[in-house]
Symmetry: none
Subunit: 402 residues, 2 copies
């Protein structure tokens, strides 16, 4: 349980909590003295919420640590990523929409190039482009192994994910990627006797896949890494008493949300308006709503400062749709920083806006940006505190002790 002391304190409430995550929200000035993306964006609605609410800066994992998307979201959900590990195979698989149920074994796959002796000459198959890899992945879907089913999906360039489903499978299997060239891929080797039958099944799958790939010039082999299964995380319901819904355009975030037991909402469209409309449609059915905006991160990774600011402005413009629902608690934040200047995720603390009209103690900040968040009354704090704070302001926690 993320917080052992919380379940005994939970009390019923009809209150509603919205957690709006703009992926990679935190930014940097492009030049000294310049604004960050969030400072450059015109955000009248968020600024109004900032003036009524509290600001702060969160540390997703630990100071100085740049998070991947999976751990960053786990942290926001209250699950310390250093304690609750999700296997890389599972993350890669849920990231492309593959379901990893309890007992299913997921792995990340790389196409590689083998020389005439069967030794690896390129661990990434010359980084073959996506359009070249997709037909190969289609062929891998034909591989059948008796007694189990397998599902394969392309990820990006030379990468794919595979999930094996069956009885009594076990994930304690070493990577088949030897991590250097000039040697053949390892076979799947069980680390524990209980995983040996699973290793045998994966070796059967690998052998058949290799037959299919044999003719290809670059991608004539493969390696598998990160064998793992559903981490069986405590659910939002058990941890927080919350009946949670997840609204996201991208499979990765739906996947992480589903791992903590959120119901993933199906909807059409991909704009903030579409996502907020989807939330509105299930407003009565849930008490916690996680909404994920992807494009802030994508623009940041593209190095597109203006584009990222525009995405933020688009979210701000759509915000009245959410406010009209009169949530009891509204949190607007990111999972991590993705400064356009760096074109990648970073460790910088993340702007955090907390709004809860019934119980807020406002600070004296009136705009939503990194600088104001640094002066906010919430201070610098771990992202892990987000949900406990939301539960308190939503009237969902009883007093601790007499």
């Amino acid at each position: 349980m993320p917080f052992d002391y919380i379940p005994p304190l939970l009390q019923d409430s009809s209150s509603k909590i919205i957690l709006l995550v703009m992926d990679g929200l935190g930014g940097l000035p492009v030049k000294p003295g310049g604004p960050t993306e969030l400072e450059a964006a015109q955000t009248p609605h968020m600024d109004q919420l900032a003036s009524e609410g509290m600001l702060g800066l969160t540390t997703p994992i630990r100071p100085g640590i740049t998070p991947g998307s999976g751990p960053a979201h786990l942290a926001l959900f209250g699950y310390d990523p250093l304690e609750y590990e999700i296997g890389r195979g599972v993350l890669e698989s849920v990231g492309v929409g593959l379901k990893v149920g309890l007992g299913d074994i997921a792995a990340r796959g790389n196409f590689c190039t083998l020389d005439e002796n069967g030794n690896i000459s390129d661990r990434r198959a010359g980084r073959i482009p996506t359009d070249e890899a997709i037909p190969l992945v289609e062929r891998l879907k034909e591989v059948k192994v008796p007694g189990v089913t397998t599902e394969v999906r392309h990820v990006k360039e030379y990468r794919f994910a595979v999930v094996m489903r069956g009885e009594n499978l076990h994930p304690d299997i070493l990577d088949t990627d030897p991590q250097h060239t000039g040697v053949p891929p390892h076979p799947a080797v069980a680390q524990l006797p209980v995983a040996e039958p699973t290793a045998v099944l994966f070796n059967q799958w690998i052998a058949k896949a290799n037959q299919i790939l044999a003719g290809h010039q670059k991608a004539n082999g493969l390696t598998l890494r990160g064998f793992s299964t559903d981490p069986n995380l405590p659910t939002f319901k058990d941890s927080y008493g919350l009946n949670a819904a997840a609204i996201s355009v991208y499979p990765m975030y739906k996947g992480v949300a589903s791992l903590v037991g959120m119901q993933v909402i199906q909807f059409k469209g991909e704009t903030p308006e579409d996502e907020f409309e989807a939330l509105k449609n299930v407003w009565e059915d849930h008490d916690f709503f996680f909404i994920h905006i992807k494009k802030t991160d994508s623009k940041g990774e593209d190095g597109d400062f203006e584009g990222k600011a525009k995405i933020i402005e688009g979210v701000d413009q759509a915000l009245p749709q959410l406010l009209g629902l009169k949530p009891d608690v509204l949190i607007i934040t990111g999972d991590h920083s993705t400064p356009a200047r760096m074109k990648t995720h970073s460790w910088h603390p993340v702007p955090f806006l907390f709004w809860a009209p019934a119980t807020i103690r406002p600070d004296d900040q009136d705009s939503f940006c990194e600088l104001a968040c640094g002066h906010g009354s919430l201070g610098n704090f771990p992202a892990l505190n987000t949900i406990p704070l939301a539960l308190a302001h939503a009237g969902r926690l009883e007093k601790f002790g007499a």
Copy 2:
């Protein structure tokens, strides 16, 4: 030991530390843009100390957690309430001034109503008023059980506390309250064999008590909960090398202070002036002084915003009495927030003023209120840090390592 690394660092000093706790000090604005109770109060002395000292905001237990009085004080004293649990029976007993020594067993009692079949029809005896319950508690004092002594004291309405003292008693006994109606109270049942003799003794006490209560219309039965004993907490002397005194009008806080080995000072009166005078009288005998002001919390729970502000002003007016003693360290804070607007304890961080003229690094805040504390140089921090900080500024800690 609350901080294992502190005892080896302790050094002698004649310095004096005062910890002034205004219970439930933290507040909220009643309307947007309005002041909190502390902001509304005229506090020239505290504001002067704020301008000379440092401010911050404390989290008593964990973010979002609303503390009871017992855990909140333990935290201020440096004992993490999630690590050092005080049984509910002990808290209830010390709260009404019953002493719970090592090996004594304390329990919380409820009067209840039994129907003609001996089943509970009302778990709280119709919430009988205090003046009706007190005579019943007086009768319970007559109950004698061979081999042990028992002490009973009324708490409030249908609630009382009982402490059993004797040889080889053990608290691992299940609640006799079945938590619902339509069934009889459970007997006292030992969870461990070592507690069986104690359960037998409590069942004897219950049987005799029931005979006494039999005639009463509403309160013709009772249940006992929270069997517990002195938690045997490390003392202030052992933990911090401090010879501590506690000055409080209310038994609850005397009780918690005595559990960590503070000497409870007897005195007459109940105003801040009376309490500060009592402190002055024992100034030479101790090096740490915990003073507890209750009425800030009481007014907060009454929803009396103005009344709470007035209590704060009264403390401020009396403050020169303390300052005249020239303490080396003076801390003014609360154990938790009790916003008049909420009429109850809350999770909001607590204003914290730290003053230590010889070694202070002042910040740029010059008034004692939530907003200024949010900008103070101490930042947001766990209440657990209070005593180590005080020890340092009191010159009581040697360097760690060479």
